[in-house]
Amino acid sequence: MIYLFQVLNGIGLGMLYFLLAVGLSIIFGLLQFVNFAHGAFYLLGAYLTYDLVERDISFWVAMPAAAVIVALVAGLTEASLLRRIYKLPHTFHILVTVGLALVIQEFVIVVWGPLGGSVATPKSLAGVLIIGDFIYPYYRIFAICFTAVLAFVLYWALERTRLGAIVRAGSESTETMALLGYDTLRINTAVFAFGAGLAGLAGALAAPIRGVEPFMGVEALSVAFVVVVIGGMGSYVGALAAGLLVGVIQSLMATIWPEGARLMIYVAMAFVIVTMPRGLFGRV
């Protein structure tokens, strides 16, 4: 029974990892841009939710609001700063975005303090589901279902709509998109903002489960990269599969060998890099 819970926890965790990683992966696919500030957007999403809930605003308003605010902040940053460095080598991307991540992290410490806090689960999902021996918090069930629906909608939007085709086409050739009359700078900004907004949403969803603290972004960033590497750069299905894999590995290991739980996800990544360098579903 304990393993069932851990697998469920792992799926919940994995879906959050997926949300985090898919934004990173789409941004890399379209812009060839390595974004080390992605974890900071997750951090900001979590803290904005925390702040809004503290002000007695309903979680159901706070969660989408946090994601939208993060997307706006990211869009402005892209349009004013990041688009200037796309053409430079990846090391410059890392330099600038690590700097940006530190600025956001310090901003969080200045505004909300260094200690962190907890976010109450929304009242409508406060209890636990009890079926015989099976006891599980409603909020976690909600988080799994919500992200599963979102994952499906995102997949549909990306693969079956004109807008999704535009994003996929842009990641093949921006020059051709310009020749077809698309303002690629605007598409870039929109996609960057959207990817960051997903990270913000992951932060908002995670806040009632794990609370908030100023360094959660760093941890999230490393996990997101692990997921993207395992799944394959730029692959949507890869991000989903790898997110779930990493989440379940981490949760199961937390029971079997708690000290090694974090270690094992890096072992999994190393294994994938050695056996299939492009990742499970990678194209590049």
Binding site: A165, I166, A169, E172, G181
Partner: protein
């Protein structure tokens, strides 16, 4: 007749190298005009300068009477100029139909049904991914995509290069249909037989300058010009 495209004394650079050194030309409405010249003469760069991919440092560009000098490529595309580059720019991971759908623009005179009528092969292969097409089919798709943007002027960069003769005939017939529908065409092509069959007028470009201009009849009659500037005889 009014001018669909006019460029006047444009100069363009790749870094410091001055590759287009004062090219002027025009395409009247409903005309097919070719731009000829040896490899490296500046044909592709001229097309890029007109489209805005390589904005000229000096000179002027007008599309249907509106000055578009210095506009970025996406704006000239929105204003009736389509460039089909030599590499065709097919999105290999999108299906044929997705390639076409993202190219549709409101107000264009062509619908997807019109396109499939001109290019029936594309309808047969609409569920295939762009990467699975043959070279000829990719070229058809690239032209079809350009048309869905509703261009007044279509610029084709070596559309039949490397294609089998039977496919070349098919594409030549399709280009005629496009012209007959009222689209003016500026064509860069090395295949002189194709140029002679399609074009009303010819410009020859050498080292970034227009060195010769002739109507199609004059050009066909004039062996010396072909030998001198193109070093080939068709």
């Amino acid at each position: 007749m009014s001018e669909a495209l006019r460029i006047e004394d444009i100069h363009s650079y790749y870094g410091k190298s001055h590759i287009i050194q004062g090219v002027s030309l025009k395409v009247e409405e409903g005309e097919i005009v070719t731009l000829l010249g040896r490899n490296g003469a500046g044909k592709t760069s001229t097309l890029k300068s007109i489209s805005g991919l390589l904005p000229p440092k000096r000179g002027h560009v007008w599309i249907s009477g509106e000055e578009t000098t210095g506009w970025p490529a996406y704006r000239t595309a929105q204003n009736g100029l389509a460039l089909v580059p030599e590499h065709r720019g097919i999105f290999g991971l999108l299906t044929v139909e997705e390639n076409l759908r993202i190219s549709q623009r409101r107000g264009a005179q062509w619908s997807l049904a019109d396109i499939y009528q001109i290019f029936p092969r594309l309808q047969e292969r609409r569920k295939n991914s762009g990467g699975q097409l043959s070279g000829g089919e990719q070229q058809m798709l690239a032209i079809a995509r350009a048309l869905l943007g509703g261009p007044k002027v279509l610029m084709l960069d070596e559309p039949v290069e490397g294609l089998a003769p039977i496919i070349v005939e098919e594409i030549v017939a399709q280009i005629k249909k496009v012209r007959d529908a009222g689209v003016s065409i500026l064509l860069v092509e090395q295949n002189l037989a194709v140029c002679a069959e399609l074009a009303d007028r010819h410009y020859i470009i050498e080292l970034g300058k227009v060195v010769h201009h002739a109507t199609s009849a004059e050009f066909i009659a004039d062996h010396t010009v072909r030998d001198r500037y193109l070093g080939v005889d068709a």
